[in-house]
């Protein structure tokens, strides 16, 4: 079964992770722009990071047969230096237009300061203007309040709820997010956030509509196989293949296809950034195989 992890920070992961993900069936990922664990001090750092998400990381993923897309934005943790934040906001209109960008994010609240509200709002307006979905981070502390405030801001700005993916939900927030008409993401972490068993229960209770599951694997203790492990748990719990396909492929595709930038046929096949195109016509290789083994057939 082909899997889509709609929130994972591959910049901080090794090729061992890519290898394991590919073997476990992960065929597409979204890497949202976030902080690097400590604050950046120059707008150029943000720009180079965006370029790496669009460039090297995208290529690195393709070497393992994985489609890599990203969202770009100014995250809440780095919204508090206004001079720097304004410079980053100036970069976004061009960078958001580049190939591989499927949304604005991660944006949202962390401490819920005035500055965070300002830049969260500005980016929601920008997303609305560009017709892009928004990938929204909810705080890990005081999450219920943060989620309520997020929904309130979305309503205040008349942001289309179907273009809002509110992430890192728990049992306490998923209901209000779904009731509001937004999409609900859930992050499977080894010790904290959400677990496969709890996720299985959430789907049993709320159904599969507008539910997404991700690993958000990053620089901290996290698991790039969170998504396949949750699939395995749900299979053990008796969820059928159709339901699993909804949650782990159709839902992420459906949500991000709203960007108008996701080629549905292309994402079903292996990434085009591979080496076979270069062996057109005469080759001097004499029996050598291309760098990456791309002989596995795309799954039905």
């Amino acid at each position: 079964m082909k899997l889509f992890d709609p929130h994972i920070h591959m910049t901080s992961r090794t090729t061992d992770d890519y290898q394991a993900m590919a073997e476990a069936g992960v065929a597409a990922i979204i890497e949202p722009a976030f902080w690097l664990g400590q604050p950046r001090t120059h707008a150029g750092s943000f720009e180079d990071y965006y370029l790496s998400l669009l460039g090297w990381e995208r290529f690195r993923a393709s070497q393992f047969g994985i489609h890599h897309f990203c969202t770009l934005g100014l995250n809440p943790k780095e919204s508090n230096d206004r001079r720097l934040a304004d410079e980053v906001m100036d970069l976004l209109p061009v960078y958001l237009e580049k190939d591989g960008v499927l949304g604005v994010g991660e944006i949202g609240f962390d401490d819920m300061t005035e500055n965070e509200i300002h830049y969260f709002g500005a980016q929601l307006r920008l997303a609305k203007e560009l017709g892009l979905p928004a990938l929204i981070h909810t705080p890990h502390r005081d999450k219920v309040t943060g989620t309520e405030q997020t929904l309130a801001l979305l309503r205040e700005l008349d942001f289309p709820m179907e273009l809002a993916l509110i992430d890192h939900n728990t049992e306490q927030t998923v209901g209000m997010v779904l009731d509001a008409g937004a999409w609900a993401g859930h992050t499977i972490y080894p010790e904290t956030k959400m677990s496969p068993a709890r996720m299985s229960e959430i789907v049993r209770k709320h159904g599969t509509d507008r539910i997404l599951v991700n690993s958000a694997a990053d620089w901290g203790v996290s698991d790039p196989l969170g998504v396949p492990k949750t699939v395995a748990q749900m299979q053990r719990d008796g969820l059928d293949e159709a339901a699993l396909t909804e949650v782990f492929w159709n839902n992420p595709v459906r949500f991000f296809a709203q960007s108008g930038r996701l080629d549905l046929q292309e994402v079903q096949a292996l990434p085009r950034i591979d080496q076979r195109d270069l062996w057109e016509g005469n080759s001097v290789l004499r029996g050598q195989t291309p760098r990456v083994d791309l002989d596995r057939a795309p799954e039905a």
Binding site: L51, L54, D99, L278, L285
Partner: protein
């Protein structure tokens, strides 16, 4: 085959025609508007160009060009030679038209700076297009630093765009940089006989480098890379004088 600096390339009408026939009216209308917008911001913001480059993939797609005989007949010979080589996509033609239009509005030094900037700030497909279009751009020598820098990438499609089916390195790269490009192509498992202009640049030094690489592979119990004997044979045949200092 390169385009002499004295002969400006006008790709805009061709690009618009190809956009219509290969995509649709919406794509060619978009391209026409984008080109007009670039022309009218003479000496001003590069934003219309950057936005157009960014958006172009969505409008023009990724399909290879493979021009038909009829399409080739309608092209000037230098352009036809370029656009018929492997790798060229409609996207690259459209982007070349956009960049050429912007460069027309700028003195050469500013044009070189703009080109370098676009390369550094391009994502994978933009970088690929910018490198592929090099032989069509005026004042090629001024673009050398950006091209050499781009040859240092490990992102395969970008590297292939400068190393393979591209006359630019053989024409402009100093010896050290050209040799490193060929060695790297071999290292990355690419067919070095697709390095355009290799016969004219295959030197004893390049032969020494690839033989050295082959012996490293042999010592490690690995296969000999393809292309070694080809390069050694070319070096033996030629009497190529060394070119200018390395970058």
């Amino acid at each position: 085959m390169h385009v002499p600096d004295t002969q400006p390339v006008h790709l805009a009408p061709l690009a618009i025609r190809l956009a219509t026939t290969r995509r649709d009216a919406a794509a060619s209308a978009w391209l026409r508007d984008a080109l007009a917008s670039i022309r009218t911001t003479v000496g001003g913001s590069t934003r219309p160009l950057r936005l157009a480059l960014a958006r172009s993939r969505r409008l023009l797609g990724l399909d290879p060009l493979h021009p038909t005989a009829a399409e080739r007949d309608a092209m000037p010979p230098s352009v036809e030679a370029r656009l018929s080589t492997p790798g060229w996509r409609l996207l690259d033609v459209g982007r070349a038209a956009l960049v050429l239009t912007a460069l027309e509005t700028l003195p050469p030094a500013d044009g070189a700076e703009l080109f370098g900037d676009l390369l550094r700030r391009g994502e994978l497909s933009e970088q690929e297009s910018l490198l592929r279009m090099l032989p069509l751009l005026p004042h090629g020598r001024t673009l050398l630093d950006g091209a050499v820098e781009a040859g240092r990438t490990n992102a395969l499609p970008v590297f292939a765009a400068i190393a393979l089916h591209n006359p630019y390195p053989a024409q402009w790269f100093p010896d050290l940089n050209f040799n490193q490009l060929v060695l790297k192509a071999m290292f990355m498992g690419l067919p070095v006989d697709h390095v355009e202009g290799l016969p004219g640049r295959a030197s004893d030094e390049l032969a020494r480098m690839v033989l050295g690489y082959a012996s490293e592979r042999e010592a490690a119990g690995r296969s000999i890379p393809a292309g070694v004997q080809h390069i050694v044979a070319l070096a033996n045949q030629s009497e190529n004088p060394p070119q200018t200092a390395a970058r």
